[in-house]
């Protein structure tokens, strides 16, 4: 799944500022001016509602904003659910829509309750927008587009249910995220009618610009980064190790499910054999029949246990496997921003060197041929260079800001992500352990009742000498 690596993010359509880039600066000139009025540098926005991913807000204030939001996290003011999958059949295609319901007390929403229909594509769109606007923030993964293993139909009930749960989790994570949940894109996703959403979607950066971004991104990643701060190198190492571990956990868990299923198959055969045996016996008939009953009960419990593993533990582990891709992409994007900055710094240095260097003999010779005085030429050149250097300086400043902002955003979000990951995985494993305890307790009861029946049987038959 290739992510649209956008290092010079253009969070357009979000009514936030567009960073002047080589490509899009010309296109969005107008927007830029409008936005500059509203969001000027240094403004600290404390209202969650109008806080958008403003690139021009200083990094420092950004951090403060972040922390403020986090403290408020306990008082949840927005509740989102994804349910009611429905198959929609049109002339062109068949697809599934889900009902997305929102209940909120936030003031930026026109009402307190919303209900819309969304399809997978829409979720994909939202994710893409958030990633574009915030290249170094961590977006929770979406369930995969296709299921490779096992020819699972897109319209298979289990597949749809698994997907629905994952979409629900995705949306909730976005709602819990201090920055994402306040974006316009998120708001529109939750509230807009289908027609509205479609037209809003079209307002993205042009296809060509996105193409250009990707090309630039590839070039950047080839370039590589020189002085990566240690903490990001540490992050990278962690992500690599974590990827391995979570991948292993995913595989191990799936293997356990497979083995349990195969054990279940054998167990299912033994009950009937005891029943068959009981038909040849007299005294033994009753205990044999009970034995068969016990084995059947244990089979049911095992089936239940396997289902719960599939429904609860496996999806969570799988999501974190997908997370690792996101993490790697985020780190890559941050690296690219830094690489860009470093390249620009070099370019500026070279230009300065040009300016300070002695006039080149060759070019002077040419110019004198054309009929201009050496002094004139020299002056012209210096002027030109000065102008270029000034432009580059301005741009470099912006890039430096951007880099600092990206780094700080990543650092904060990294901490947040680690907390969320820890909570998610902890509760997943705790729940699994608890379910296993329940499973064994139920089986224990089955066998204890068998023993009890045999004791009462012995008592009843008067075989026991009750002394």
């Amino acid at each position: 799944m290739s992510d649209p690596v956008v290092d010079n993010a253009v969070p357009s359509g979000n009514s936030s500022v567009a960073i002047p880039t080589d490509i899009s600066g010309q296109i969005l000139d107008l927007d830029e001016d409008d936005d500059l009025e509203v969001f000027s540098k240094g403004t600290t926005l404390t209202e969650g509602s109008s806080f958008n991913a403003s690139m021009q807000t200083s990094p420092a204030s950004m951090i403060n904003q972040y922390k403020f939001e986090e403290e408020d996290a306990d008082t949840k003011d927005i509740f989102v659910t994804v349910d009611n999958p429905e198959s929609i059949v049109t002339a062109i295609e068949t697809y599934v829509t889900y009902r997305v319901m929102t209940k909120t007390t936030r003031s930026e929403f026109d009402a307190s309750e919303f209900e819309v229909q969304r399809r997978y594509q829409d979720f994909l769109w939202l994710k893409g927008r958030l990633e574009e606007a915030h290249p170094t923030l961590i977006v929770h993964p979406l369930p995969e587009k296709f299921v490779m293993k096992g020819m699972v139909e897109r319209f298979n009930e289990d597949f749809i249910e698994t997907r629905r749960k994952a979409l629900h989790r995705f949306l909730n994570r976005i709602a819990e995220h201090p920055i994402f949940s306040s974006t316009d894109d998120f708001k529109i996703f939750l509230t807009a009618e289908s027609g509205e959403l479609t037209s809003h979607k079209k307002q993205g950066p042009g296809f060509l610009s996105r193409m250009g971004e990707t090309v630039k991104a590839v070039a950047a990643s080839v370039r590589g980064v020189r002085n990566r701060p240690d903490e990001f190198t540490d992050m990278q190492e962690y992500v690599e190790a974590f990827t391995q571990k979570i991948g292993s956990l995913d595989k191990v868990s799936q293997r356990i499910v497979r083995e349990k299923k195969e054990h279940l198959e054998e167990l299912k055969e033994s009950g009937p054999i005891y029943t068959l045996w009981s038909q040849s016996e007299e005294e033994l008939a009753e205990p044999l029949k009970r034995m068969a009953g016990c084995l059947d009960s244990c089979c049911k419990e095992t089936e239940e246990q396997v289902k719960e593993l599939n429904d609860h533990l496996i999806p969570v582990l799988h999501e974190y496997v997908l997370c690792t891709e996101t993490l790697k992409a985020v780190l890559r994007r941050r690296d690219n921003i830094q690489a860009d900055f470093e390249a620009k710094t070099e370019a500026l240095a070279m230009k300065k060197a040009d300016r300070d260097a002695e006039s080149k003999v060759l070019s002077l010779a040419w110019d004198s041929l054309v009929g201009r005085s050496p002094e004139e030429v020299k002056q012209q050149k210096q002027q030109k260079l000065k102008g270029e250097i000034k432009e580059m300086r301005v741009e470099l400043d912006k890039m430096e800001d951007r880099l600092e902002w990206a780094n700080n955003a990543l650092k904060s979000d990294w901490t947040r992500w680690q907390k969320v990951m820890r909570t998610d995985l902890r509760s997943a494993f705790v729940d699994t352990a608890e379910r296993n305890v329940n499973y064994y307790e139920k089986c224990l009861a089955v066998w204890e009742s068998f023993l009890h029946s045999q004791r009462t049987e012995a008592d009843g038959n008067g075989k026991v000498d009750c002394s």
Binding site: E259, H263, E265, S270, W277, L284, L451
Partner: protein, 434 residues
Amino acid sequence: MADSGSEDIAVIGNTDLTPSESENNLKNTMVEKGTSLLKKMEISVAEAEKRTGKNAVNMQETYTVYLIETRPVDAASEGTNPVPDSLWRRYSEFELLRNYLLVAYPFVVVPPLPEKRAEFVWHKLTADNMDPDFVERRRVGLENFLLRVASHPVLSNDKIFYSFLTEENGWKETVFETGFQAKADSRLKALNATFRVKNPDKRFAEMKHYGDELQSVISQLLRVRARAADRLYGVYKVHGNYGRVFSEWSAIEKEMGDGLQSAGHHMDAYAASVDDILEEEEHYADQLKEYLFYADAVRAVCRKHELTQFELEMAAQDLISKKQQREELATGTVRTFSLKGMTSKLFGQETPEQREAKLKMLETQIEEGEELVKERKTECNEYVKSAWVDIERFKEQKDHDLREALISYAIMQISMCKKGIQVWNNAKECFSKM
């Protein structure tokens, strides 16, 4: 049947019974049923050892010998505890003993030996006869066999059995001297009887059918159990991988590290616990196997009945035809077509002297025939009586033993569940500290 109530209560009330304890229950039942032999002597198969030697065709072979220990009962209770008498025997000698008993006491459901080769194995167990686990289980099985014979009201009094336990040298010769091999019924003879017998005792016919069913059902059970054991092993062992990954993962985490690490240990413990579980299940399988082989012994008793009944029927049939012949000769009428009758018609009557001689011979034969029929009838009746007594005894024993086996299986499952609860509760605690 002796009152076995106390054993029942002990087994059911105490859910922590180990396989050796439930085995002991079985033995105690046998001992308390009290044959005179067991009242005198304690019997055990204490050890197993590997030996190498030259076999009949002068080739080097490795085999296992088992140490049979016998000890007078009184001595133990007096507390003096002298050194037990002991001797070494090979599996093939046990087989010889059993074959002898089969021939000498055809009306007895002779206890079976533990299997010759490991069958119904699941992947962890090898089918290797030299495997120490297999040898150990065989040792237990041989001891069980000896105790079963020693507790049998008829078999326990057998002298060959007694000398098997007490005389190391020359026992084999003693057995062969009994000439039992000559008395053994040929397979063919038995098969023939089975097909042609007309009026076998209904109970025996039913018992034989029961033997077939028992064998079939226990075989199926053992096969499924072996496959299930394989799968269960897989489930538990894969959890060991959790242990490894948790441990590795804990190395890269700060706050989560401790919880993960300790949870990992519990996963390792869980994975390791399957070995004990399956060993106990193996004991249950052995109990089933004993009755799988017992089914064969039951069928053998029924077949012997068919044989004696058949021989009685043959003798009776023979007598009838001889009497018929006498009648024909005496009255001169030919009731049924016979070649002799035809030829005499064709070639003239016999002389009165010839007829007289023939009659006399027939009379003798009829007398002998009647004796034979009487003999065989007695034999048959006696056989039916004593065989049925032993079959009834066997049925009671089977019902008791198998019920005990089911109970001990349930106890095993309970123990497994309890262990599981403990491990996952511990793991849950560790996870919540993550």
